[in-house]
């Protein structure tokens, strides 16, 4: 922890508020540059907090951007560039976590909750529709009177209050 703080302080003094991706880094081939930017937006700067290397001013982020561009210029496909980074920094470097055993729960958790809840609601609705038993509850005398008076006055029993 302490080292990170020192590093951050050192970086702040050495390369202060440098911009994220800089003009000197831009590739001459616009198609490659578009790919590089797209990849840069999905790789995590390893010393920052939840920042993509494309947006980060950290030195190591700049080096990683350069590495991405070197791989692209060398003819690597996008998956190959990701593989290159994962081999060095692990899955941590991917802002979009891979779909693997350890992340199934992450990827499928919310859809699973949605599916289970939807099925449960559906079943409950069906059950309710099939069993008419509670549909005719016994009315108390007061309620009976109220029904009578409502019917007499011809009002909708569920008015906008």
């Amino acid at each position: 922890m302490r080292r990170r703080a020192l590093l951050a302080a050192a970086a702040a003094l050495a390369a202060p508020a440098a911009l994220a991706t800089e003009p000197s880094e831009i590739l001459t081939d616009p198609a490659l540059e578009v790919r590089a930017r797209a990849i840069g937006r999905t790789l995590r700067c390893v010393v920052c907090q939840n920042q993509a290397i494309d947006d980060s001013t950290a030195e190591v982020a700049r080096d990683m951007r350069r590495a991405v561009r070197e791989r692209l210029v060398a003819g690597d496909s996008d998956p190959a560039v990701y593989a290159f980074m994962v081999a060095r920094y692990g899955d941590y470097v991917l802002l979009k976590p891979p779909f693997k055993a350890g992340t199934w729960a992450l990827w499928l958790g919310a859809p699973a909750v949605l599916a289970v809840a939807a099925v449960a609601l559906f079943v409950a609705a069906r059950r309710r529709a099939r069993s008419p038993a509670p549909a005719a509850p016994v009315l108390s005398d007061a309620e009976r009177q109220r029904v009578a008076s409502l019917l007499a006055s011809g009002r909708d029993p569920a008015p906008e209050r």
């Binding site: 302490r2 020192l6 050192a10 190591v60 060095r88 692990g90």
Partner: protein, 178 residues
């Protein structure tokens, strides 16, 4: 009906989440740690220009045959000064082979740094633009790797190593790796 357990579901979820939080707070887990992808895998290739004049380049050959400690450092990095005496002892007293890579450092500055604090490095190379660092999955300096005789990365420390790291993990790894 037996839907009563459903009402316990939120409480159970809270229990699980809170359990994780308590676990995290009481363990010595460092939330900023990013881990290492290299441990257990062959060390990345190394080809660094020599730091000291007249020496040959630092290459994979410099790492083979015996367990080595690879240390990335820079003269401008304060924590590197902090850990430097430990590296010195590791090299001098324990006889470990330590390889140093000067990260984004002018050779003159790095040499002055070593002259001032001592030079623990059997081989010393230069990484002027941080390219080697990316290959080694570096996030900053200092970082230290222990590589066994067959070239497999055994340990990877991000940040300065301590006496305790030396005693508890680096020396045993060096011994086991030979």
């Amino acid at each position: 009906m037996s839907t009563r357990w459903l009402y316990l579901l939120p409480l159970a979820t809270l229990g699980i989440v809170a359990g994780f939080f308590a676990w995290s707070l009481t363990s010595d887990r460092n939330p900023a740690s990013i881990g290492s992808a290299l441990v257990g895998r062959p060390a990345p290739t190394l080809n660094a220009a020599p730091l000291r004049e007249g020496e040959t380049a630092v290459t994979d050959a410099s790492l083979r045959g015996r367990p080595v400690v690879v240390n990335f450092f820079a003269s401008w990095c304060a924590p590197c000064q902090l850990e430097h005496p430990i590296l010195m002892r590791l090299a001098e007293r324990e006889g470990a082979t330590v390889v140093g890579i000067a990260y984004k450092n002018k050779p003159a500055d790095a040499l002055a740094f070593l002259k001032r604090l001592g030079d623990p490095y059997k081989h010393a190379g230069l990484d002027p633009d941080g390219k080697i660092a990316i290959d080694w999955g570096l996030s900053g300096v200092p970082e230290t790797y222990v590589i066994d005789a067959r070239g497999i990365v055994r340990l990877h420390f991000r940040g300065p190593i301590s006496e305790r790291d030396v005693k508890d993990s680096i020396l045993p790894a060096l011994k086991a790796g030979s």
